[in-house]
Subunit: 349 residues, 2 copies
């Protein structure tokens, strides 16, 4: 079988590797129908995170179950399944608390489990899914192929955007600013709209992304950045700023812009992986009663709720996939995403 | 009339000053029935915050209205009133949002208004209350004198503890850790109990404070501090930590202990004035999905709700006042609080 390996900066290639097979009785083997490239995959691709040894990469996929281990109960061969970006056993204390990303036995695709075992990367023809009952969510029936991009978005970006919106307390009447116009920022826009926000300002300078943002419910687009961007958000929102800011970038600058865009008593929901560990200025937070919440999104917890809306045609987060590549051209998909030529590339094995 | 002035480190004295009189038609003159010393008053007393010129001090009081300006509508002479620690006009956008501490025209007792006018300190015989309609809350009738301490606690510590609990999302079933056994930490304990927390662990080494904590609903007392304290909280709470941590100290160490005491997906509600501006470690927050919210408490927003419970005898936050001084002995009250000989001293003009 073929699987994508990252070897180092700008070096992502398909390799022929041994066929996927069950390793544990709780595993499932999944034939990948669609995978994709994530902004966080670019960290390794750009060399920001060093690649110490060649490894499989990719953490978002949907597919069809081929085989299950003896202890798997909730998915069966032939099921179409959505894999959240983190593996989780589904029954540890953190999973029961809805924080599947803190699962005591889990890990990330392309990384290691808590036990130190390699977990397959998802940009491949097949993936072995650990803790299949805890990790995978099966759709009620085989979905229409046109729905695959939206289902794939539930692996990460839509659930992550939803997490940002929940963390920021978005609800009916909220005034929202979204910092970041990548797939997560756009999905956060859709999540805010879905949760009833009254006003949604999206920071974006890219026509194609602005268009998706509008379709996802953005009421205003702001092209300024940094201090100017925050000032413009405050100006648009009664001079005081947003009740909820969704930080979907993860740099010190984007976080500061987010804090500066929040009104007193407001909340910043952040899901941008903090690059370089920017610290939060507690004196500013304290003075203005601005809360900060979020983190690595437990998307597994959100799939059932979001899946229902996708299947009902209420939301179409798959619009964030604006380019499609055969898996053989995975290197091109990375290059296009790195150059910001595409919002998010979908891969077809 | 007599009023407390701070002149510098360890130098707090009564002074004879001009009698209080209306300055604006929105003012009320209040005869102080009880005031008190706050942990934050010690910043100036200890010289941590320099006192550039002698000024009035104290920001918590209850009293009886003596005189009101022509535009005052909601309080009248003879009313018993509670003054929150911040002045607020009650009708700016932030006050309408419930964030009275960000009032565009407000300020703090003993400080300056947004317009740069001095605002009276509260450790005095009389206080001129700006924006009396926005700032003061009258009780429905003259309260029983035994209730005065609890009513006075609504000026600051009880509302501030309540803010910490709300910011941390405390509700039925919450598992709570309270960091800080001063009056605010104790009131946060009471607030958590009132909001239905299932388990409340209070960090304290002082028998008298532990006793009040127990009466306020603490289920467990932990005497360890720092890493050991956080480890003990995690051990008591299923190995994972608290769903809500109430940070009521304001040092870098207490914040770190709080973050380390929170379970993945948990929230830290903080009301300790950040001493020296400790920054928050965003990578730890992100990885564990720990939210941080709180700040300078808009206690004005909480007085009606908490007052109802005080008047109904459901809560008795006045227990935090474990010593009473005549105003003439205000210097002794500061010294006792500075030495941690008392939890919170009440002053009687």
């Amino acid at each position: 079988m073929r699987a994508t390996m990252i070897h180092g900066a700008k070096d992502v290639r398909l390799a022929d590797i041994a066929d996927a097979g069950l390793r544990h009785p709780t595993d499932a083997v999944v034939r990948v129908v669609a995978a994709c490239v994530c902004g966080s995959d670019l960290w390794g691709y750009r060399g920001v995170s060093p690649t110490e040894r060649p490894r499989r990469i990719g953490h978002e996929f949907v597919g069809v179950v081929e085989e299950v281990g003896a202890e798997v109960r909730t998915v069966k061969p032939g099921d179409f399944v959505i894999a959240p970006f983190a593996v989780s056993d589904g029954d540890c204390v953190h999973c029961r608390n809805g924080v599947h990303t803190s699962c005591v036995r889990g890990g990330y695709w392309g990384g290691k489990s808590a036990d130190g075992e390699d977990i397959d990367g998802a940009q491949a023809e097949y993936v072995v899914a650990p803790f299949a009952d805890g990790t995978l969510v099966a759709t009620p029936s085989m979905p229409d192929p046109a729905m695959v991009p939206s289902l794939l978005s539930l692996s990460d970006v839509m659930g992550t955007g939803h997490h940002a919106a929940l963390a920021a307390g978005v609800g009916p009447g909220s005034t929202v600013a979204v910092v970041g116009d990548g797939a997560v920022g756009l999905c956060a826009t859709l999540a805010a709209s879905r949760l009833g926000a009254e006003r949604i300002i999206v920071m974006s300078r890219h026509a194609a992304r602005q268009e998706v943002a509008r379709r996802f419910g953005a009421t205003d687009i702001v092209t300024e950045r940094g201090d100017d961007g925050a000032a413009r958000v405050r100006e648009l929102l009664g001079g005081i700023g947003a009740s909820a800011v969704l930080e979907c970038v993860g740099t010190k600058e984007s976080m500061q812009q987010s804090l500066d865009s929040a009104r007193p008593g407001g909340r910043v929901g952040y899901v941008g992986v903090p690059a370089g560990g920017p610290e939060l200025p507690v004196a500013q937070l304290f003075r203005n009663n601005i809360g900060v919440a979020g983190g690595v999104a437990p998307v597994r917890a959100y799939i059932p709720e979001l899946l229902a809306d996708v299947l009902a045609g209420k939301i179409n987060p798959g619009l964030v996939f604006d380019a499609e590549y055969p898996l053989a051209d995975v290197a091109d998909a990375y290059a296009a995403m790195d150059a910001r030529e595409v919002i998010k590339p979908l891969l077809r094995p």
